[in-house]
């Protein structure tokens, strides 16, 4: 095979300023779905522990901005920051893994507390008491299935479906425009 190697084409390559917020690309952060084989949770937790990752309660994450795990359900989690091969090496055959890096587009929103804007998009209660630092969920935003992770009150991550990322970013911009108008009006 003598053809040129395929080059990736990012769907969201640049940083975007929305109001006072910055939307940046997290696409380079690998994303892997981890499912626990029926009845084998202990083995997976032990293996994760050895890999430096804990097994939090559902809806909570562990780790940091470079590498972490968000538990999505009883037997399911998203691991970010570890490529499939690396995670597979670390966990051996203990868990079922699926690469999700290209299924979702990761976006990071920083620059302030965006919750007034997110209220136009997200049905979840994002108050500190209900959705503290490290909380995450898969939810519906602007008719799209989106994974939401709060790293801090001023650092929110989204994973939105790759095929409809354009619609999601449009919806985000709309929401921030509405929030900004409301802020000015009050």
């Amino acid at each position: 095979m003598s053809l040129d190697a395929l080059k990736p084409r990012p769907v969201f390559s640049e940083q975007l300023e929305i109001g006072g917020w910055t939307l940046s690309d997290l696409s380079e952060l690998p994303l892997v779905n981890l499912s626990i084989p029926l009845g084998d949770e202990a083995a997976v937790v032990t293996a994760l522990d050895a890999a430096g990752l804990a097994w939090p309660v559902p809806g909570q994450s562990v780790g940091n901005a470079a590498r972490g795990l968000l538990r999505m359900g009883g037997d399911n989690a998203l691991v970010f920051g570890m490529p499939l091969e690396a995670l597979s090496d670390a966990l051996g055959d203990t868990a079922w893994l699926t690469d999700q890096s290209d299924t979702w587009v990761g976006l990071r929103l920083t620059g302030g507390d965006p919750r007034a804007a997110l209220a136009y998009l997200c049905a979840l209660d994002l108050a500190d008491s209900a959705f503290p630092d490290g909380a995450g969920a898969r939810t519906r935003m602007a008719h799209l299935s989106v994974i939401l992770l709060r790293q801090s009150a001023e650092d929110w991550w989204f994973w939105a479906p790759r095929s409809s990322i354009e619609s999601f970013i449009h919806a985000l911009k709309d929401a921030f425009r509405l929030a900004e108008r409301r802020k000015r009006a009050t």
């Binding site: 095979m1 080059k7 084409r9 299924t103 209220a119 209660d125 354009e166 709309d174 000015r184």
Partner: protein, 957 residues
């Protein structure tokens, strides 16, 4: 007093003068006015025409219960009809028009209806216009609709913007009158997350309209201070101009917020564990002849305009009512220097039996037959608590004779408490106490303690003696002012047997107008109860449903309109396809390339024919990334798939793919696709594009609910892979240039699958075919999809290959006889599709048993066949009905339908897939394809649905 505006008082900013236009006339008002108060201040007594009789009408109330003063706001595309002038905050430049007239507001030609009123009583159109029958739809109904009705939309696209969103609270306080404010303050001070919503621009409710005092200061001043304290609490959200219009399951409330931040309306879905319903009460009228004349107003509204807006509603005001509020009205009017000409208290036997004045009140006739000069008559028939929201979960209000009103019953929506006038608490002091008490209970439920600090307030007299109508007087007495329902209509309904409240409502349309009978319902019920000779409690109430006040459809849609109506899904090859000038088509949410026109091609048919011919003779490439991709992993994945699919999957070897058919539980065909086994415990299921999400949900249901004992895990990777079909005799040669591995027929036989390296990138290759040609589907992670389509098409050039779109894809699958969405329509079985033998009898699978029901195996079921026109120059169309050649075109003769029809460039004529009764055994029959919609009727011959290479030799080469 300047005109009707008082020289002092009111909660208006006299330094902020606002100009507005009313029916083309320039008028002015002040900041703090509503359109209604500004119109009254300018002496505009006549503001509307009634719905049915086009009678002159004036402003009657000061709130959202207003039945009369419906106006049209704005001009051009932004025209908003049917807006209550009483709830429109006045702003500079506001343009408003009266509506529902022909000619002018003063000289409405349609007021002829009023002359004809004796024949236009309740239910007239059920009894008249019976002959000739055909005239109903052609003449009578259009004429009635044209003469009745309200304002009209502009007919242009609404240029306003709308939004919707979500809020959460521990406590939602509905209404910010004294009870609501007290509840919000008590809960807010205790630290609860509180939302307080009120439909008015100012918090305070009746406090802004009355001269009652709290803690020694005017009530409106206390309300202003309370609003300021609430606004300063970080745990409290204050929502003025926000109507809670519906109570839904799970503590969800619908709120319509009007006119904030350049958005016309925002629909908020609020989740709250508790709610305090402090929605107050609505004053109701008394039925007496001429009670709809402009100038006849509710006494509470007269006080509102006087005390809040500094507007006298007349120079000579008469009073008529059945309760203690009359005295308060008289006191307030006199204090403002307005002449109170007479106080008529029904408890003392006084009444009004007639009114006079062509387009506005000039005189009233008292019960003793005396005419008295008056340009405003303030009436009060008591107060009806606004129980609507407590009824949205089917709770019923209960009748309280002592206050002559329905109050909330015991069945409240979960988490709701009631406080203030809505419970029948008539006095200010009681409202404050109830508001605080409700908040204390809510705080307790949230595990905290709230302190009760109720300020001192008046316990004003609130005695009432029910009095519904003046009997014995001549003339029409209106009950429902917006729908022109009179006391006579109610008696007529009773006489004709429509006694039940639900019948009364529908027969007379009582309470069915845009005000939903807020002021008229109880009066109508009382009249019916009296006519029937039963207590009001036995007459019952109709059911209150959302919305409490009208909600613009735009608010529900929010920003999801036009191009943003729904999310758009884009394929990895789209940028490249656009560069090629591809024509796109919506397929569900996806934008897919439909065909790729080239210079010189005259029609899309020519383009599609070229794409098909090139693919069948050389090679074609099509983006099939939109097909659903579900990865299945687990120790029991094989057993699970064997249960999900009707055909066998237990023995599918690693590295092999199989066509699979899923059935629904009822035995009908559900979806089809392929399933590839990548490793011992790892499969990839593909679904049709349209059903990707639905099939995933179905499989997840089966996994969690039907097979919980299995170790199996699903995850969608539809968006994660760019997948291209490479089809045609040269497909292997083309792919060999990009793929490192040996993909010869020996190494990679038909239905093989596995991991490959595509131009240095880890990918997947499936040797499967939808076109009937030697074909593959090659997949790489989606980010490489753009590069791959460019590489494929660059290499395809040397084979004179082509890209093809969904049209050519469809043509080739029909030529090959593959069922797709039109065939898998939910009404067809595997047997109908000619796939009956796929349903394995050696195992259990979803739908297998049900698929063997005798009716589903009947030989005369509509079964898949192929059709060709007898005259090959004729074209076939999907949707045509199949009939015997000599049968009449009627439903009883129907033998089936054409599901898919295309022009086959391979065969040189049209072909179709169709479902024909007993079709499996009817090859060779000649029948008719009758298409009444398009006026076509042609002879067709029944053939095998496999038009092209039925042995499948080409795809195995």
């Amino acid at each position: 007093m300047s005109g009707y505006r008082l020289d002092a008082g009111g909660q208006i900013d006299r330094n902020a003068k606002l100009s507005f236009r009313w029916d083309g006339k320039s008028l002015s008002g002040f900041e703090g006015d509503t359109l209604a108060s500004a119109l009254l201040a300018n002496g505009q007594s006549l503001v509307a025409r009634s719905f049915k009789y086009h009678r002159p009408r004036g402003i009657m109330t000061a709130g959202s219960e207003e039945p009369n003063a419906l106006v049209t706001l704005g001009e051009g595309a932004a025209t908003t009809p049917n807006t209550k002038a009483t709830v429109v905050p006045l702003r500079d430049g506001l343009v408003a028009h009266s509506q529902n007239w022909r000619g002018s507001l003063k000289w409405d030609l349609m007021s002829l209806n009023d002359v004809l009123s004796p024949v236009l009583s309740a239910g007239f159109y059920y009894k008249t216009f019976m002959w000739p029958k055909s005239f109903w739809e052609r003449l009578y109904e259009p004429a009635i609709r044209a003469s009745a009705g309200l304002g009209a939309l502009s007919g242009s696209v609404d240029p306003d913007s709308y939004a919707n969103g979500f809020k959460h609270a521990d406590l939602l306080v509905i209404g910010a009158g004294p009870a609501g404010l007290m509840a919000a303050l008590t809960a807010g001070r205790a630290g609860l997350r509180v939302i307080v919503a009120d439909e008015d621009t100012r918090l305070g409710g009746r406090l802004n309209a009355e001269t009652l005092e709290i803690a020694g200061a005017p009530g409106h001043q206390w309300a202003t201070e309370a609003a300021a304290e609430l606004a300063a609490l970080p745990n409290v959200t204050v929502m003025p101009q926000s109507t809670v219009f519906g109570v839904y399951d799970g503590g969800q409330y619908g709120i319509l917020e009007r006119g904030t931040a350049q958005v016309r309306a925002t629909f908020w879905r609020v989740r709250a564990r508790h709610a305090v319903l402090a929605s107050g009460a609505t004053e109701r009228p008394i039925a007496f002849p001429g009670n709809d004349r402009p100038g006849v107003m509710m006494a509470g509204a007269v006080r509102t305009y006087l005390n809040r807006f500094a507007v006298a509603t007349g120079q000579q005001v008469a009073l008529f009512g059945n309760n203690d509020s009359l005295a308060r009205t008289a006191r307030d009017l006199r204090a403002a220097g307005v002449d109170v000409v007479v106080e008529l208290d029904s408890r003392a036997g006084a009444s009004v039996i007639g009114t006079n004045g062509r387009q506005g009140l000039r005189q009233i006739m008292t019960g003793d037959g005396t005419w008295r000069e008056a340009d405003c008559l303030a009436i009060s028939g008591g107060w009806s608590p606004n129980v609507h929201l407590m009824c949205h979960h089917r709770g019923r209000p209960v009748w309280r004779e002592d206050i002559a009103a329905f109050v909330p019953g015991p069945d409240l929506p979960p988490g709701m408490l009631c406080a203030g006038a809505v419970t029948g608490a008539g006095s200010l002091s009681a409202a404050l106490r109830e508001g605080a008490a409700a908040a204390v209970k809510v705080a307790e439920a949230h595990g905290t303690t709230a302190r009760t600090e109720v300020p001192q307030a008046e316990d004003e007299p609130t005695a009432i003696a029910a009095f519904w109508h003046v009997s014995g007087a001549k003339g029409r007495a209106f009950v429902d002012f917006q729908h022109d329902v009179t006391t006579k209509d109610i008696i007529q309904a009773k006489t004709e047997g429509f006694e039940a409240v639900e019948h009364l409502k529908r027969y007379t349309t009582l309470g069915m107008a845009t005000d939903q009978g807020k002021s008229s319902n109880v009066l109508g019920l009382a009249l019916m109860a009296e006519a029937r000779g039963v207590p009001i409690a036995d007459a019952g109430t109709t059911i209150f449903r959302p919305p409490y006040t009208p909600v613009p459809i735009g608010a529900f849609a929010g920003p999801h309109r036009g191009p943003q109506f729904r999310p758009v899904r884009r394929t990895p090859s789209e940028p490249w396809a656009k560069e090629q000038g591809a024509v796109f088509i919506e397929a569900g949410q996806w934008m897919r390339a439909q065909y790729f026109p080239r210079a010189g091609e005259q029609s899309w048919q020519e383009t599609v024919a070229r794409e098909v011919t090139t693919t069948r003779s050389s090679v074609g490439v099509c983006d099939v990334s939109t097909l659903g991709k579900i990865e299945v992993q687990g120790r029991d994945a094989a057993a699970y798939l064997n249960f999900v699919y009707c055909n066998g999957f237990a023995k599918l070897a690693v590295g092999r793919t199989r066509y699979g058919l899923m059935l629904r539980e009822d035995g009908f065909a559900y979806d089809d696709g392929t399933c590839a086994r990548l490793s011992e415990h790892h499969y990839i299921v593909t679904t049709t594009t349209a059903k990707a999400g639905e099939v995933y949900r179905h499989m997840e249901f089966v996994r969690q609910c039907l097979c919980p004992e299995m170790d199996v895990h699903l995850i969608s990777t539809t968006d994660g892979w760019a997948q291209y079909s490479v089809a045609g005799p040269q497909s292997r040669s083309l792919l060999s240039r990009l793929i490192d591995e040996d993909i010869s027929d020996t190494a990679y036989p038909y239905m093989a699958c596995g991991a490959v390296t595509v131009c240095g990138t880890a990918g997947r290759l499936f040797r499967i075919s939808f076109s009937g040609e030697l074909a593959y589907e090659v997949a790489v992670p989606a980010r490489y999809g753009d590069a791959l389509i460019r590489a494929l098409m660059a290499e395809a050039q040397s084979f004179d290959g082509t890209a093809y779109g969904t049209e050519a894809l469809g043509v080739m699958r029909v030529e090959k006889g593959h069922p797709a969405g039109a065939e898998l329509n939910g009404q067809t079985t595997a047997a109908d599709l000619g796939l009956g033998r796929m349903v394995s009898s050696k195992k259990d699978s979803i739908g297998a048993v049900a698929s063997r029901r005798p009716a589903l195996l009947a030989e005369d079921r509509a079964q898949l066949v192929g059709l060709v026109p007898e005259d090959k120059s004729k074209s076939l169309r999907a949707g045509a009905h199949l009939l015997a050649t000599d049968a009449a075109a009627e439903m009883g003769q129907d033998q089936g339908w054409i599901s898919s029809a295309v022009h086959s460039p391979t065969l040189g004529h049209d072909i179709a897939l169709a479902f024909l009764k007993g079709g499996a055994n009817r090859a060779g029959d000649r029948i008719r394809a009758w298409d009444g919609l398009r006026g076509r009727d042609i002879l067709v011959d029944v053939v095998s649905p496999h038009f092209y290479d039925p042995e499948g030799a080409r795809l195995r080469t």
